[in-house]
């Protein structure tokens, strides 16, 4: 266990030396021993690399680790059901690790927080992806972390919230109005997607993937499809790639437009909410006209896309893009010129750059705190290498910066949609997939950040599929960003992060 590893320059060097598993694409998977596992943990803790995912599997755990050049999946066998805690040295792994223990029943040696995470003791089954033993569902109490001191009190919020939003519990400890600790508790919308995926074919898998987080249905379907295609070693036709990107950018546009308005609404500035709501609706109607579904659900499939873009759909998208291009600048200008609004967004909910880097925070949350990461650039998938788009980055890390990044990304997506419409190649929409065997991984940039999909196929059936939402690494940062803010600003800060509950709870 005390073996010393050479100082590898990159993860690719390490993979070349360690020997990667055959049939895992496009990035290598390496089976490591405990010494190498600990070494990877130390390097992660030292900030040299980023943790992009951590999940369980039968008799083993996998961690997705990225350096500047690419990705590596490191696998540690747990023959006796034990593994060395990664969270003990690298805190961003904590909730993922607690989830592995909940679902698989592994024991993590040195796990700093052994409380269950997704398991609320209500399933009637223990370790559903592991031994799956039946147990009575008692709904045992969940001990929250203590915060002690004079004149502190607690405010419990949720799981049912005041707005039309997803369920989760927030436990605030406040001193007067100031939040001294926020602790989140999730898992309320855990639907058991991992278990439902086991043993099914790719079409059923795509149905589930597209229902992991409703606002990112295209992103999830795309990540799943790309992982499946990687596992089978097939490539979707060019026209399918371009149509997928078209849908992905329309999804980004719709979400950014809706959320920019919603953040302003949480600062009681309703006019921007109303106008952004109109623009969002225009995008959704164009999507409906073009693809037959407002959210474009079930339109991206393993092997290609479900339908073609016809002339009227093309015209509907072009018209919506033109309308938004005309109206949106006035809304940004209004945001810019309203001091009372910026008084709320400026300086609220500051996420420090070190934390964004440590947690590998994806999407606008990371990019508003100086982390210039975008999966479309980091691991470019077609057609993005052939498209021009900026990746805006700001340093302030407050609510205002997150809104501004999203405004800039609206402009970028408008331009991307125009470029795609202009240059959409002709050709097939899908390829037939063989009922093959293999392992695939994909990283796709959704509006919220990078979604990781990993799966193992055997004769066309899914043996294990893991989908990692960007929220896993963003939710904990909200706990940090809210500290010292007044509790009344929580809705504003929360909306500016807009993490997913369903994508996280799986």
């Amino acid at each position: 266990m005390t073996r010393t590893l050479p100082a590898y320059e990159s993860l690719a060097d390490f993979a070349a030396d360690a020997g990667s598993v055959a049939g895992h694409r496009p990035w290598p998977r390496v089976v490591v021993d405990t010494a190498a596992w600990r070494w990877l943990g130390r390097e992660l803790a030292a900030g040299r690399w980023s943790l992009l995912g951590f999940w369980g599997d039968t008799g083993q755990v996998h961690a997705a680790i990225a350096d500047d050049e690419g990705l590596l999946v490191a696998t540690l066998a747990c023959p006796d059901g034990r593994f060395d805690s990664l969270a003990a040295v690298h805190p961003p792994a904590l909730r993922l690790e607690r989830t592995i223990c909940d679902l698989f029943g592994f024991e993590s040696a040195g796990l700093p927080d052994p409380r269950p995470w997704l398991d609320h003791d209500r399933w009637g089954v223990l370790h559903p992806l592991g031994a799956a033993t039946e147990v009575p569902a008692t709904g045992a109490d969940y001990p929250f972390l203590p915060a002690e001191g004079e004149s502190l009190h607690q405010v419990p919020v949720g799981p049912v919230h005041a707005g039309i939003i997803e369920p989760g519990h927030f436990r605030f400890t406040v001193n007067g109005e100031t939040v001294v600790r926020l602790e989140q508790r999730f898992g309320y919308v855990h639907k058991g997607i991992g278990k439902l995926m086991a043993g099914v074919d790719l079409m059923r898998g795509a149905e589930l993937a597209g229902r992991t987080s409703g606002d990112s249905t295209v992103t999830y379907a795309l990540a799943f499809a790309r992982a499946a295609e990687a596992a089978l070693g097939v490539e979707a036709p060019p026209r399918a790639h371009w149509l997928r990107a078209l849908m992905a950018e329309l999804e980004r546009l719709a979400n950014h437009l809706g959320d920019i308005g919603a953040v302003c609404n949480d600062a009681s500035f309703a006019i921007l909410h109303a106008h952004c709501g109109v623009l969002r609706e225009r995008v959704l109607r164009a999507c409906d006209a073009a693809f037959g579904h407002r959210l474009m659900r079930d339109r991206v499939l393993p092997g290609g896309v479900a339908g073609d873009l016809e002339t009227h759909g093309y015209a509907a998208i072009a018209a919506a893009i033109e309308e938004i291009g005309k109206r949106f600048p006035a809304l940004c200008e209004l945001y810019e010129n309203t001091a009372s609004l910026q008084d709320r967004t400026g300086g609220a909910g500051v996420l420090r750059a070190e934390l964004a880097r440590q947690y590998a925070a994806g999407g606008f949350v990371g990019r508003a705190s100086g982390r210039a990461f975008d999966a479309r650039r980091f691991a470019p998938y077609p057609p993005y290498p052939r498209l021009a788009f900026p990746v805006p980055v700001l340093a302030a890390g407050d609510v205002d910066a997150r809104v501004r990044i999203r405004m800039l990304e609206v402009d970028a997506s408008l331009s991307l949609v125009s470029q795609i419409l202009e240059r959409l190649p002709a050709g097939d929409l899908w390829v037939t997939l063989p009922a093959g065997t293999g392992e695939g991984v994909a990283l796709v940039e959704g509006f919220r950040g990078d979604v990781l999909a990993w799966l193992r196929l055997a004769h066309g059936r899914i043996e294990r599929c893991h989908l990692r939402d960007p929220s896993w690494f963003q939710w904990p940062l909200l706990e940090a960003a809210i500290e010292g803010n007044i509790i009344a600003d929580f809705p504003l800060c929360n909306k500016s992060f807009n993490c997913s509950y369903s994508g996280h709870d799986l």
Partner: protein
Amino acid sequence: MRKLLFDSLLKGPLTEPPPAPDEDALAELAAAVKRKARRRLGRSLAIRAVDAGSCNGCELELHALNNAFYDLERYGLRFVASPRHADVLVVTGPVTKNMREALERTYAATPDPKWVVAVGNCAANGGAFAGSYAVVGGVSKVVPVDLHIPGCPPSPRQLLAGLLALLETSAG
């Protein structure tokens, strides 16, 4: 801001005419609404939305009901922040086991007379998640349901048609 407001004044409203109340929904509701309730509520219903495990798709379309095109409030329908202020619970999702108690408690906190509208395919029978160890199934397995609005997710027009049927029936 003045420029935006002026523009909005000069342009016609975006708000569209309502869809006809859903016939199927009217039939489903005919049995559910009592005379007493009709008298008490008139043509105004307060709605409390409860996500009992949805993927968030249904919530997006419920939100859309508030935008200028659908403008839900013109019918006397509005979303409220607490079940204690509500006449109608709109429930989405394949009720998860982890949300079951929260849904039961929300139902108990809603004063009578009350209706439950199950929105989306998951809320009808668990949808894509039926059979999971973590899922109870359709909303009617946990609380009595008066109206189902199917879809994955239902479009705002479908939601509106269903809710208008509820309004018609409850107003008598």
